[in-house]
């Protein structure tokens, strides 16, 4: 199933459909746009037909200078079987030759009142976010002090319970159990809940509860950038857990590396507090304060001083 169709652009940008209505269900496969100026001049060798074509003042005023035969041929060549649509900006008049060619090939021709550059950047943004690579992970996403924390771990380890306590402490739930992740930009992962289970949380013994009606609109958010992954696992006595925090472990989601902390679960450990502190410490590190590294440097100094005393 294609992620975006020409129809979506018409709705999103309130475009006026001029002709070629049969083609509004064509899929858009790339976020790149094309301004076919050089094609108007007759050079079609590298014509990117699969892109949305944008005609502005420059292209159309040049087109006006062509003779009637050229006009017909070039518009005919512009409308291919794979062209998802042609948009005329600035509310300019659509050339008759284009309307005829587009009807023949069912390529939707649309008009916007926006300026070309403005329209082009907004179209690119919209298409990039729609066409971004996506994945779904099993976990809970919570916004803790503004840090998007993705809590992962095996079923029944206590992810949802931890999220519940975090919400009680004033943090916000984004998604429970199933988090849809989009890589919107290089290194930017944004998580959201599948529509059907938005705001819901499942707690063993209670069932499904609605966090928004229970705790208010301030307890939920629709989406959040993921900065930190906290992996909960049952305490394994044979495993070494990080005692210093000098190393940062990374995990790869789509093409982006995110810092991951592995937190062992055992009775008596308050996970919500640990995650709160993890989020604060993460922020602190990003601001340039690294407690573990500072302490390690002091310890090294102290040891070196001690060595001098013995000399």
């Amino acid at each position: 199933m294609p992620k975006v169709r020409t129809q979506d652009l018409i709705e999103k940008f309130q475009l006026e459909l001029i002709s070629g209505a049969e083609g509004v269900h064509r899929p858009i496969t790339t976020s790149d746009l094309s301004r076919p100026g050089i094609e108007m001049a007759g050079y079609f060798a590298y014509y990117p037909a699969e892109r949305i074509q944008l005609l502005g003042k420059t292209e159309l005023s040049f087109f006006e200078k062509l003779n009637p035969r050229e006009k017909k041929i070039r518009m005919e060549k512009l409308c291919t079987d794979i062209t998802p649509g042609i948009i005329v900006s600035r509310g300019l008049d659509v050339p008759q030759e284009l309307i005829e060619a587009s009807e023949r090939h069912s390529v939707p021709v649309m008009r916007s009142t926006m300026k070309t550059t403005r329209l082009s950047s907004r179209l690119t943004n919209f298409l990039e976010s729609k066409l971004a690579p996506t994945t779904a992970v099993h976990g809970v996403l919570v916004d803790v002090y503004g840090v998007g924390v993705l809590i992962t771990g095996k079923s029944g380890v206590g992810k949802s319970e931890t999220a519940l306590e975090l919400v009680k402490r004033g943090h916000r739930l984004v998604a429970d159990d199933c988090v849809e992740i989009r890589q919107e930009d290089e290194g930017v992962l944004v998580g959201s809940a599948p529509e059907l289970i938005e705001h819901l949380l499942e707690i063993r013994g209670l069932g499904i509860i609605n966090m928004m009606t229970l705790f208010g609109a301030g307890a939920v958010r629709t989406h959040k950038r993921i900065s930190l992954v906290v992996d909960l696992e049952l305490w394994d006595p044979n495993k070494q857990y990080d005692r210093l925090g000098l190393e940062e472990e990374k995990v790869k989601i789509i093409d982006t590396e995110v810092t991951r902390l592995t937190i062992p679960v055992r009775p008596g450990r308050n996970l919500a507090v640990i995650i709160e502190v993890a989020a604060m410490n993460f922020r602190l590190k990003r601001m340039g304060v690294n407690a573990a590294e500072e302490f390690s440097a002091r310890l090294t100094d102290a040891i070196e001083d001690g060595e001098h005393d013995y000399e």
């Binding site: 199933m1 779904a136 099993h138 079923s155 429970d176 199933c178 599948p194 059907l196 499942e202």
Partner: protein, 85 residues
Amino acid sequence: MVEKQVKVLLKTGLQARPAALFVQEANRFSSDIYLEKDGKKVNAKSIMGLMSLAVSSGSDITLIADGPDEKEALEALAKYIQNEA
């Protein structure tokens, strides 16, 4: 790892109650079990994930299991959703 394509014959599809039973069944096994529909893959042991797919009767899904009891798990779950009652 084993995989199986199944058609959902359960008359109601995976509505809330049948989904809960499905998840309960999945949790009896220690293998990691996933269910995939239209390219979306969720953990079969998590009820919210499963319900977010809104699996209807007649849809095609893929069951994936990985672990020591993967074969039994796949068989039991496939049997459950192919039960027409």
